[in-house]
């Protein structure tokens, strides 16, 4: 019934934010999350739809932090914009050559480009840099811990 008490979902989906109160950073992050959800659901058409909005949202944040560059690069990666993804990976690694998110993104780009040799080199560097970089405790490592854990595990299991 329409007048039934408000049920609430309690499900896994995040509650929709208040659009009138969102900062530019929150707008960009919302679109990043939206694109990743669509990608994981296999809705590539929706990924493409939200990409221009998301890219513009990140451009408005300029200058971007390394964490934001990783997010933007992931958007490029899942949306098929390889130059965008590569540019973010290059910029991250120029700023910090052993940055774990930079190495992960660069390896993803190399695989998209079918450059297996470069991907393996980046994987090896990721594994070698893992302990020291995690000790640096960069905030973005905590934010993307699942990505890093998965990438390091995959890199360790990749045949040399």
């Amino acid at each position: 019934m329409a007048n039934a008490p408000f049920a609430g979902s309690g499900g896994a989906m995040p509650r929709a934010p208040d659009i009138s109160q969102m900062t530019p950073e929150q707008q960009a992050e919302r679109l990043y999350d939206r694109i990743m959800r669509e990608y994981e659901a296999g809705q590539i058409g929706n990924v493409k739809t939200f990409m221009p909005m998301a890219i513009a949202a990140y451009e408005r944040l300029s200058p971007l932090s390394l964490d934001q560059r990783y997010d933007l690069g992931r958007i490029g990666e899942v949306g098929g914009d390889i130059p965008l993804a590569r540019a973010q990976a290059d910029t991250i690694l120029r700023a910090r050559p052993t940055h774990l998110l930079g190495l992960i993104l660069a390896a993803k780009v190399a695989r998209l480009e079918k450059n297996d040799a470069r991907a393996r080199t980046l994987d090896a560097k990721l594994v070698a840099s893992d302990s020291a970089e995690r000790a640096a405790a960069l905030p973005e490592y905590l934010l993307h811990k699942l990505d890093i854990d998965a990438a390091v595990a995959a890199a360790r299991s990749t045949p040399k």
Binding site: P17, I19, T49, M53
Partner: protein
Amino acid sequence: MTSMTTIHVAHSPDSDDAFMFYALAAGKIDTEGLTYVHELQDIESLNQRAMRGELEVTAVSIHAYAYLSDKYALLPHGASMGDKYGPRLVSRTPATRADVKGKRIATPGPLTSAYLQLRMYEPDFETVHTPFDEIMGAVERGEVDMGLLIHEGQLTYQDHGLHLVADMGVWWFEETGLPLPLGGNVVRKDLGAELTSKISRHLRASIAYGLDHRAGALDHAMQYARDLDRSQADEFVGMYVNDWTLDYGERGRKAVQLFLERGVKEGLITKPVQVEFVD
């Protein structure tokens, strides 16, 4: 008359706006030395950015124009008007107008025309301003009692098992006999008359090109059609790229004026509005 050659033109990521801006985005028309940089953002964010005067040319909600008329003028073309249709109020279970009072409702933003229309329809409800693309999900998950849908959700809510409570365009027509003004394109007044006139010509030419080359414009618009298939996208574009898009005309201008006057009269718009069209 000015050294400015780059114009930022912003619009919302839906298929009717994409259709209108297709020729401009795809370089199909002569822009007489001007370079247009396109920006895509949800309409509430564009309204807020226009309030800060950030954009030279942008789509805005007609509601937002009430607070922008000192900085921006309405272009005579590019209007989104609903002819007995408009934003749709939906719920998870069947409901009527009497059920709306006091409900918690997801709306696409405080400056949107949809929000103003809903306030006119029923002043008493709890609003949850929500990004347009998350409204349907918020209703489905029960985070809100009802949702006010704009863009393509107006055509797809039934696929999600939701029920129509009211169509704002139908209600507005019953009240006034006029089409429902939703959005328009505005140009910042400080650009000056000559540049404004040039921009106005280009935008009109872009819309006309889209109407004359419907298949190509629709291909472009499909990028922003989300859950719609091509025939639905064609239908959606046809709903909002219509007789009023190339020119508001007398009836369209009357509808805009009445909509805003009524908002002022009902205390929903907090300042008198002088509507100024570029001709």
